[in-house]
Symmetry: C2
Subunit: 398 residues, 2 copies
C-alpha cells in the first residue's frame, strides 16, 4: 500500500501509488510466462491487479468475469482506494443483485495498459527502473483478453459462467467469445460494438491530441520531469464525457440553467451549470487516471475490429459458438447506438448463436449501463438467472 496519505482521518492513496503495488490482489507473471501481444512483442514480466467478490464453488463453475470500461478499473463493488467512492457497478454487483455475490464468484481485473496495478505505461519498466511511458507497447482489446485468460488459468477456472461488461468492457466480452468460445458459458455485452466507428475514433483522437498538446505531457515522460498533463487530460475527459451523455440527458440535467446566478456575467466564467459540471468532470478525473494510459486504452478501442480478423465477415467470428448471448443497447446512446448492437446480433444469428437482444428505452445516453436503470438491471438479472439454471448452478440458500 504505497503512497498512503492520511486525510481527514481516512487513509487515501494516490493513483500513482496504485501502479506498481496496488490495493488489490495481484497475479504476477514472470519472464517465462510472457503475454504475446498483437504488435508482435512478448511482454514479460507483467502483472494483473484484480478484485474478487463471493466464493468459487467446488465445481469451479460459478465464476463471472466483469470487464471494465475505458476509465473504469477492478474496483467494481468496493470502496475505491484513490477516490474513496463506492465501486462503479454497485447497481449490478452485490448480495442478491443481478451479479449476486452470494451465488457467483465475481472477478474483475484491471486491463493491461491500465493504471491501477496491471502492467501499463505508468508501471516501472524492469529494464530501466523508470516508468514505461511511450516505450510501453501498444496493446489491443485481444491483448487485454489474452492477459485475462492467463489470470483465469492461474485461478484454476476452465470455463467462466459469464463474461459481462459495458462499452470497452463489452468489447472485451465479445472478444472473449471470439477467442475462447468454449470457455464462456454466457455473455452479456452492453452498449458496445464489434468495431469502433469513424466518429468514435475521431473523438478518441481529439482526446489524445488534447493530452499530447499539453507541454507538461513531455512526450510521455512527465513522471521523471515532475510535471503532469492535467490540463490536456482534463480537456480529453470533458470531450469524452459529453459523448457519454445524451442531448436529452444534458437538457434534463442542466438545460440552460445558470450556476449560482440569475444573469450572465458577460465573461468566460462557468455561467451555465453544464460548464461547471464539465470542468468538475475534467479536474476530478486527472486525480485518478494516468494520461498515458488514456492514450493506450483509447488506441486499443480504436483498433478493435472483430470482422477484420475474419476476412471482413463478422458472422465467421462467432460461427458454431455454444455461448448464450444477451446483447443490450440503450436508445439514447449515440456513442454505441443500437444499430451497432443490432449488427452484432445479426452476426451472432448468422453464426448460429443463441442470442437475445434488449434495446432499453432511456434518455440517459451511453452512461446508462452504469446507472440505476431498472429495466436494464432486470434484464441482466433474468438473463443470468436463466443461464444459471441452464448451467445447473444451485440458487443461494437451497
Amino acid at each position: 500500500m504505497g503512497n498512503a496519505q492520511l486525510v481527514n482521518g481516512q487513509t487515501t492513496q494516490t493513483q500513482e501509488g496504485e501502479v506498481d503495488r496496488p490495493s488489490s490482489l495481484l497475479a504476477v507473471f514472470g519472464k517465462d510466462q510472457p503475454l504475446r501481444l498483437d504488435c508482435g512483442i512478448d511482454l514479460a514480466p507483467f502483472q494483473i491487479a484484480y478484485q474478487t467478490y463471493g466464493t468459487l464453488n467446488a465445481e469451479r463453475s460459478n465464476a463471472i468475469l466483469v470487464c471494465h470500461a475505458l476509465t473504469g478499473d477492478q474496483h467494481v463493488a468496493n470502496v475505491h482506494p484513490v477516490t474513496g467512492k463506492q465501486g462503479w457497478w454497485t447497481t449490478l454487483v452485490g448480495p442478491g443483485l443481478a451479479l449476486d455475490t452470494e451465488r457467483y464468484f465475481i472477478i474483475c481485473a484491471n486491463v493491461i495498459g491500465g493504471c491501477m496495478g496491471s502492467t501499463g505505461p505508468a508501471s516501472t519498466n524492469p529494464d530501466t527502473g523508470k516508468p514505461w511511458g511511450l516505450d510501453f507497447p501498444v496493446v489491443t482489446i485481444p491483448d487485454m483478453v489474452r492477459a485475462q485468460a492467463m489470470l483465469i488459468d492461474r485461478l484454476g477456472i476452465e470455463t467462466l459462467f459469464a463474461v459481462v461488461g459495458g462499452s470497452m468492457g463489452g468489447m472485451q466480452v465479445l472478444q472473449w467469445c471470439v477467442a475462447y468460445p468454449k470457455r464462456v458459458f454466457s455473455a452479456l455485452p452492453i452498449a458496445c460494438s464489434t468495431r469502433h466507428s469513424a466518429q468514435n475514433i475521431a473523438f478518441h483522437e481529439l482526446g489524445r491530441q488534447a493530452v499530447m498538446a499539453d507541454p507538461d505531457w513531455q512526450q510521455g515522460r512527465y513522471f521523471e520531469r515532475g510535471t503532469h498533463p492535467h490540463r490536456g487530460l482534463g480537456v480529453a475527459r470533458m470531450a469524452a464525457h459529453i459523448t457519454y451523455l445524451s442531448d436529452a440527458a444534458l437538457h434534463r440535467k442542466f438545460g440552460r440553467r445558470m450556476q449560482d446566478r440569475d444573469l450572465p456575467t458577460f465573461s468566460f466564467d462557468a455561467d451555465f451549470q453544464v460548464e461547471s459540471y464539465l470542468r468538475h468532470q475534467g479536474s476530478s478525473f486527472v486525480e485518478r487516471f494516468d494520461a498515458n494510459s488514456y492514450l493506450y486504452l483509447t488506441r486499443a478501442m480504436d483498433y478493435f475490429d472483430v470482422a477484420a480478423d475474419h476476412d471482413g465477415v463478422l458472422a465467421s467470428a462467432f460461427r458454431g459458438t455454444g455461448t448464450r448471448f444477451c446483447v443490450v443497447s440503450f436508445t439514447s446512446d449515440w456513442l454505441f447506438p443500437t444499430s451497432e448492437s443490432r449488427a452484432t446480433v445479426h452476426a451472432l444469428n448468422a453464426g448460429g448463436a443463441r442470442v437475445s437482444f434488449a434495446e432499453i428505452e432511456t434518455d440517459r445516453g451511453h452512461d446508462a449501463f452504469l446507472l440505476d436503470v431498472p429495466e436494464f438491471i432486470d434484464i441482466a438479472h433474468a438473463f443470468l438467472q436463466s443461464a444459471a439454471t441452464a448451467r445447473g448452478l444451485t440458487p443461494p440458500g437451497t
Copy 2:
C-alpha cells in the same frame, strides 16, 4: 494591406494582418457613434469590415445581408485574402445563383468580435495601443446584429430584401427579425436555433477550455508575448469539426480506412484517415483564426436565447411580423437538429408569421449548408425568387 508576403508568386496575407487594416471595405464609427452592447458597455470607436457583390438598385430595395457562421467571415464569394481559397458560399452566391449577384446587392460583414477586420479582441485597443485581448467586452448575437444595422444605415438601406445565414449566421437572421422586423422583407435561417442547447454549450466550453489550457494562450495576451495557442485552438477546432459532420458522413468519407498503409503501426501516429483529416483541420484553422475571437464568438452563441428576452415565450418575439420566412434544417444535423428548427417554425406560426419549412434529407450533417446539396440550393433559390416577385424586383435581363 498589412503584412503582405509573397509566396509562390502570390500575394497572401496573414490573419493578423487583416485585423486592423483588412482587405475589405471598412465602415468606421467614431467616438460619437458607439455600439451599445448587451453587457452595458458602449463600444467606441469601432469598425466593421464587409464585402459587397452586385449593385444596389435605385430603389435600394434589392439588398441581401448574408450573416456568416462561427468561423466564417465576410469573404463569401471572393478569393480569401489569407487562405487564397474560394469564398465559403460560392454554391449559393454568384451570377445566376440563388443569391444572384446580377439581381441583388449582397452584403456580408465580419461580425463584431471577429478577427477579419471588424472590431474584436485581436483589434488594437485605442486606449492602450495594444490588442484588446480579454479586455474586449463580451459580445452577443444581438450586439452583432445591432452593429450590422448601423452598417446598413450607413449604406442608406432602410429595408433589407433578405437576411440569410446558417448556424451562427442563422441565429443572426432570427435576431434581425426579432430586433428589426420592419427592416427584413424575407428571412432564410438555416441549420440554427433560437437558443443554444446544453450539449452545444458543452462542446463550446470544451473548445474554450482547450484554448485556455494552452500555456501559450497567456491569459489572452499572446500577441504581446510572442506566443500563439495554436495547439489549444487546434484541439478546439478538431472537437468542433466532429460536430459539423454526421456519423454517417464520417463513415462514408473515412470509415476505418487507414492512411497510406494497410496494417496498424501500433503507435500513436495517425493510422486512420479520419485522424489525419482531423489533425489537418486543426492545424490549418489556426493559420486563419484568432484564438480569443474563438472564445468570444462561441460565448455569443451560448448566450443566445430569444425566448429569454420575451418572458420565456418564443412566439412573442415574432408576434405580428410581416417578414416572410423559410426555415431550413438537415436530417443528419445533430448540432442543430430538425427539432430545433421545428420549434422555431411553431413559434413563428404562433406569432402569425408567413413561414415555410424545409427539412432536407442528407447525411452530410451540419456542414450541409456550406456544401453542394441540390435540394437545399433549389429551395433557397425558389424562396428568394418568390420573395423577389412579391417585393416587385424586376428579374435580371428584363
